[in-house]
Amino acid sequence: MNSEQNNKLQDTERLKEIPKWTRKYAQNRTLTILVLMVMVVFFSMFIAALVGFPLGLAAIGFRKGNMVLGCVGTAVLVAALVAIVKFYIVILSKFGGKNKGLLDQIIDRWIYGNEVTTTVPVPKSSKKKICLEIVSAVIFFICFFGSWHLAIKGYIAYKYLQPVSALYIVPFVVCGWYFWQSPRMGPIYLLSPILYAIHAILIVAGAPLFFTTENFCMFSICLPMLGYGFLPFVIGHFYSRYALKKLKDIAHLEREAANGV
C-alpha cells in the first residue's frame, strides 16, 4: 500500500469520529441550561424577597401591637401572592403544555443564534417519571432540611453538615443525570457530584472548608452545591467549542470533493 493510499485510509478512518464529535458538541451546548439555572435562582430569590419582606413586616407589626404595620404587611403579602399566581398563569400559558421547551429554544437561539442548531434526543417524559421526580424531590428536601434541623439541634456537628449532605446529594444528582438529563447532557455533568464528594472527603480529612456558625451553616452545603453545580456547565460550553472545531476539521471538504454531486 503506497503512502497516498495510506493517507486516504487514515482520512476515511477519521470520518468515523464525526458522530462522536457532533454528539459531544450538541450535548455540551450548556450555556442555555446555565442561563436557565441562573434565571431560576434569581427568580426564586426575587419571590422569596417578595413574600419574605411583607411577611416579616406583618409579623413584626402584629407582635409589637402595631396594627397598621401588621395590616399593611398583610395587604402587601396578599397582593404579592396574587401577583405571583397571576405571573405563573401567564408563564404557564406561554411556555407550558404544548409550548414546553419554547423557553429553552428562545434562550438557545439567543445564545447560539449564529451557530444554528443540532439536537440530541431529549429524554421522554411519562407519568411514572413525573411521579418519580416529585417523590425524589420531596425526599431530597426532607433530607436537606432534616440535616439542617439536626445540625441546629446539635445532633450533627456543623463541620460534618456538608459530608452528611454528600450522602444524599451525590446519589440524587447522579440518578438525576442518568434518568432525566442523559443523553441531553454528556457525562461532564457528573463532574459536579464528583467535586462535591471530594469536598466532603477533604472536610472529613480536616480541611477547613465549612462554616461554623448557626446563621451560616447552610452555606457549607449551598455554596459548594451552587459552585460545583455551575462549573460543569461552564466547562461544557468550552468543550462544545473544542468539539465543534474538531468536527469541522474532520468533516471539512476540499473544494473538488465538495463540488462532486
Binding site: M1, L9, T12, L15, K16, I18, P19, K20, W21, T22, R23, A26, Q105, R109, E115, V116, T117, T118, T119, V120, P121, V122, L247, K248, A251, H252, L253, A257, A258, N259, G260, V261
Partner: protein, 94 residues
C-alpha cells in the same frame, strides 16, 4: 461486494455521519460544518432524501424558516452496512 453509491460520495457520507450522531441537525449547521455551497448541499440532501435515508422537517424559528434533517432507520442501516463493506474490503486488501 458493492458500495452504496449514494453514500459513497464524500459530502453525502459526511452528512450521514453528522446526522448519525444527533437527533437532528439543521441546514445551516451542515452548511457551515461541511463548507459546502447552498446549492450543493441542497442537491446532496435531495439525493439522500429521495433514497429514503433522510427525513426533512420544516419549521419556523421565530419568523425565520428552518429546515432540519433526521436520519431514517433505513439510512442508519445503510450507513452501518456501508462501513461494514468498507472494513471488509480493507481487511481483504490487507
Amino acid at each position: 461486494m458493492e458500495f452504496d453509491k449514494i453514500i459513497h460520495e464524500p459530502a453525502r457520507l459526511r452528512i450521514m455521519m453528522i446526522l448519525s450522531g444527533v437527533e437532528q441537525a439543521d441546514f445551516n449547521f451542515l452548511l457551515t460544518t461541511l463548507s459546502l455551497t447552498r446549492g450543493n448541499l441542497s442537491r446532496h440532501v435531495e439525493k439522500l432524501e429521495s433514497a429514503g435515508y433522510l427525513k426533512v422537517k420544516k419549521s419556523f424559528n421565530g419568523k425565520m424558516p428552518n429546515t432540519s434533517y433526521q436520519l431514517t432507520e433505513e439510512g442508519s442501516k445503510a450507513l452501518a452496512q456501508y462501513w461494514e463493506n468498507l472494513d471488509a474490503v480493507r481487511r481483504w486488501k490487507g
